[in-house]
């Protein structure tokens, strides 16, 4: 392609030069290096883009909270703080409590065969079951449940982390998941 001084670079070639001048075909590169008009055109576009960057710096708010430099909790603690971790910890604590109560004799297991439990009159248990059935079959309307109860999903960060696990892939790291690597 013959490039004369009068044949200035097109808009597309100017953009290509701004993206990466080395990608321009050699004749255009030579032209660009010698033509003040094309150089000025390229510099103008670069200047506009630099100005956008400058304004972006000036227009962003100032960071008000200094970054705390912590390594975070150890992995075991992180897991325990997560939503499934909390469930597991809760179950373990409950089981431990039950065992403790049984061990201390405060909680008695169902009566062995042949031993009678306390007598409960059939009318009492019938009355209780009737009350339970009544409550189950006639719950509060949803609007009252919203007013007086906890929402089904709380805005819990751990729960969200469970639903939406973090993206951790990056190509510049190695030893991902290896124990004892990179802890500070």
């Amino acid at each position: 392609v013959s490039v004369e001084t009068e044949d200035h670079l097109s808009d597309d070639q100017i953009i290509q030069a701004v993206v990466d001048e080395d990608d321009l075909p050699a004749p255009f590169k030579v032209h660009l290096s010698t033509c003040p008009r094309c150089r000025a055109e390229k510099a103008r576009l670069e200047g506009d883009l630099a100005f956008v960057g400058q304004l972006a710096r000036r227009s962003a708010p100032v960071l008000q909270r200094p970054m705390a430099l912590t390594a975070g909790r150890p992995k075991a603690l992180q897991w325990a703080a997560s939503w499934p971790g909390r469930m597991a910890v809760g179950l373990a604590v409950s089981a431990g409590l039950v065992l403790l109560l049984i061990g201390s004799g405060l909680l008695r297991l169902p009566y062995p065969a042949g031993v009678q439990g306390p007598a409960v009159s059939p009318s009492q248990s019938d009355r209780l079951m009737a009350e339970v059935t009544d409550l189950v079959e006639n719950p509060l309307p949803p609007v009252y449940q919203d007013m007086c109860g906890e929402p089904l999903w709380s805005s819990d960060e751990g729960f969200l982390q469970f639903i939406v696990p973090s993206t951790n892939s990056d190509p510049l790291s190695h030893d991902v998941g290896k124990k004892g690597v990179g802890k500070c």
Binding site: V19, A40, V52, R58, L69, D170, P171
Partner: protein
């Protein structure tokens, strides 16, 4: 033409100076080699790690802010980025690529933020901070009233321009011209090859060149359109 060229060259030089100063950190530690700092931090130097945080916290915060639109949420994301940097620095292969590495962490955290926001919206537990912290407007107390108007006008035009780009074009435009990353760094951050990055960048610039709305700001015109 000569005068215009000189003005543009001046702006570019100023930008480069600002860029160098911002990378040097708030206390002017420009001469310090960042790679050496990363190597020392990897070896366990707390002081070096703190200096790295000093150098990058504003850049990462700004990057998050322009993608999230809320100062408080951007601060949270920035904090998460540095916790992850602190935890995983030992896994960084090449200390010279620390900048790309930290930006790739930030990009992932911002994506996580948006995914969580979508889940919150679905579950009806969205709590918008945009209403409370005045974002995405400029910082309160940041310059005089005229400057604030200029900032708001810039943000409005920027948002409008970015909305006209595809997701990939927007990503590369922001990383290149707002976060000042090189083509190679962008390729690392976005896990794409350099020619793909250049293609997206080329398309974004073609739209930028045709869109006078944002470019007009340089002439100081803040008139309403």
């Amino acid at each position: 033409m000569g005068e215009t060229e000189a003005t543009v060259t001046g702006i570019i030089q100023t930008m480069r100076l600002v860029d160098r100063q911002s990378r040097a950190g708030p206390s002017g530690k420009g001469s310090e080699d960042m790679t050496a700092l990363v190597v020392r931090a990897k070896a366990g130097s707390r002081d070096s790690l703190e200096r790295l945080v000093d150098r990058f916290q504003e850049d990462i915060f700004r990057m998050a802010y322009y993608r999230i639109g809320s100062r408080m949420d951007a601060e949270d994301v920035t904090q998460e980025v540095f916790v992850q940097v602190c935890r995983n620095l030992g896994r960084l292969r090449d200390a010279e690529r620390f900048r790309a590495w930290i930006f790739s962490i930030a990009v992932n955290r911002v994506r996580d933020f948006h995914r969580k926001r979508r889940v919150r919206e679905v579950l009806g537990m969205m709590r918008s901070r945009q209403e409370t912290d005045g974002s995405p407007g400029p910082a309160s107390g940041h310059g005089g009233p005229l400057q604030r108007v200029e900032h708001q006008e810039f943000l409005k035009r920027l948002r409008r321009f970015l909305e006209g780009l595809s997701r990939a074009e927007r990503e590369v435009f922001q990383l290149r011209f707002m976060d000042q990353l090189s083509i190679r760094e962008m390729a690392d951050v976005l896990k794409k090859n350099q020619s793909t990055i250049k293609t997206h960048l080329y398309r974004a610039l073609a739209k930028f060149k045709k869109d006078p709305y944002l470019r007009d700001l340089k002439g100081g015109s803040c008139r309403e359109r």
